[in-house]
Symmetry: C2
Subunit: 349 residues, 2 copies
Amino acid sequence: MKINDLITQTGEWLKGDGPNADIVISSRVRLARNIKGFPFYHWAGKKEKEEILSIVKNAISKSKYMKGSLFVKIAAIDEIDRQFLVERHLMSREHAVNDEFKALSVDDREVMSVMINEEDHIRAQAIQSSFNLMDTWRVLSELDNELEDKMDFAYSDRWGYLTACPTNIGTGLRASVMLHLPALVITNHISRVLQAISKLGVMARGLFGEGTEASGNFFQISNQVTLGHTEEDIIDNMEKLVNQVVGREKSAREYLLTQNKPALFDKIWRAFGTLKSARIITSDETIRLLSLIRLGVDLEVIKDIDRRTMNELFIYMQPAHLQKLEGKKLSSMERDMRRADLIRSKLKV
Amino acid sequence: MKINDLITQTGEWLKGDGPNADIVISSRVRLARNIKGFPFYHWAGKKEKEEILSIVKNAISKSKYMKGSLFVKIAAIDEIDRQFLVERHLMSREHAVNDEFKALSVDDREVMSVMINEEDHIRAQAIQSSFNLMDTWRVLSELDNELEDKMDFAYSDRWGYLTACPTNIGTGLRASVMLHLPALVITNHISRVLQAISKLGVMARGLFGEGTEASGNFFQISNQVTLGHTEEDIIDNMEKLVNQVVGREKSAREYLLTQNKPALFDKIWRAFGTLKSARIITSDETIRLLSLIRLGVDLEVIKDIDRRTMNELFIYMQPAHLQKLEGKKLSSMERDMRRADLIRSKLKV
């Protein structure tokens, strides 16, 4: 697979169905691993980094889960391609730098991706549609086993997997879900809900921007604790907490429908009208309006658009995606115009 | 004709074609007349008012221009019907009071209307589509002659026609045009243009609200001077001034198209999208958005809506019209919802 193949397909995790797909966009699990006998990445020399890259690349090439996968050295691709992979949720922003030993591998369904020489030697992730943490963990665990067959991971009987940053020591696992919580935002309950669960070992943050009431009503919840529990316990705890948030969002949606349905529907339809009409639109406004339309789709106010279309728009309306689609670098104003064109063509009903 | 017949038809002046119909909505001329031997309305007694009403009603019933016309006593109709006739531009707000001697007559094409016992015994008006002042004056003049055949008007060889308010003495004529000047507003030239022509014996004001930059970019220009000139001279002077304003608006539209066409088109399309989608909308917002769409129709950005539809929406989205259409009194919120429904059904393309 090549990077340009990604522009014509969409990841499995954007399909928009599965458990609680009206509220939980996606479930993601990542593992941090390091190879025994090598310094952590930031202390490693050129030779060592090169060797790490070579070991992991070899292991991936023999993995049946990563068969036919994309493999790119970050230094070998341009700025737009790097940003494109970040926008695609396939690698971290920190990984998108001009470093000759950093690489990324992605399977052809975009379920699994492996960053090589990120903060740890290996950062492997699996991402799936809707509320599916346990299954996502199992899928990733298989890849983890395959990789471990080809190398020894740095591991201590006392601490578990050793990682560059102490917060990842133990399981090296971070499980996270992306939630769409518009009703909790509209009813002003979001801060209270997020604060409450933050006390229970998870971190909650707005997905776009830093503030919790940031654009688009999207939030990411992930575990803080990776040490002293099994992977299954961590996932299990996360599922319980997320279920509570999902329940709160459902109640808030019911409340909105009983309290001021006409005003809510008006807001949703106006958002739809604006997106179907605008000729120039920023990403911030797009996120805000798409969030309302997604709520409209969930509440079955808007019936001719499906969640996959919504999810794809969130990904494709981003700057690097627009530039990949156009096949060239675009100015900010050009992007705002292409974005509006793309949205109109996707929402044509 | 009955009042309820008006709700199923639209006035000739809303048809939206004719000279400069892209900028001039309508041309209106009115004449103030009083019957010789009677005190002005505000000084007249009951008996006299009754007699005035009877004389004028009789004259109208014999007019061939007012054949088959509506004739209503204002006291005989309810509050919604009164407001409906005001919204329809068929009578003044001052005439819409519970006074047993006030009456209104309207011909079946809604070109001519006659208020009886307004400030003057007779206020007759003719209104036509687009920039057509001279023709509108000629039409009204014919009705004026018919009325004068049946009664003697208060007239002085020195002053001309005598009127209750000195500002109307002489010809008793007021000619006005309703202009749509969005480009002069957007380019911030409107105040300068209106101030300049105000020094030349005409009055210019925002059609909705008091400020010149009031909602909707609609303006009314009318003559101030009625004395010392012939009717034709007054009309001729008005036409020259209006032509200047029309020219300035045209230049401003061309300027907008060369300067920032994408931003302008975006604004127009968004207005269209909002009107086609909203479920709740106030009249202020409607006027503002319809103004942009009308500009879009004029600039041929929006092609599937005609000016008649636009003009009709301006009239039908008003409170009393919505209530007449619904056949009952509506609360403010109900009106905002009915207004949105009406607009969507009219703009369905």
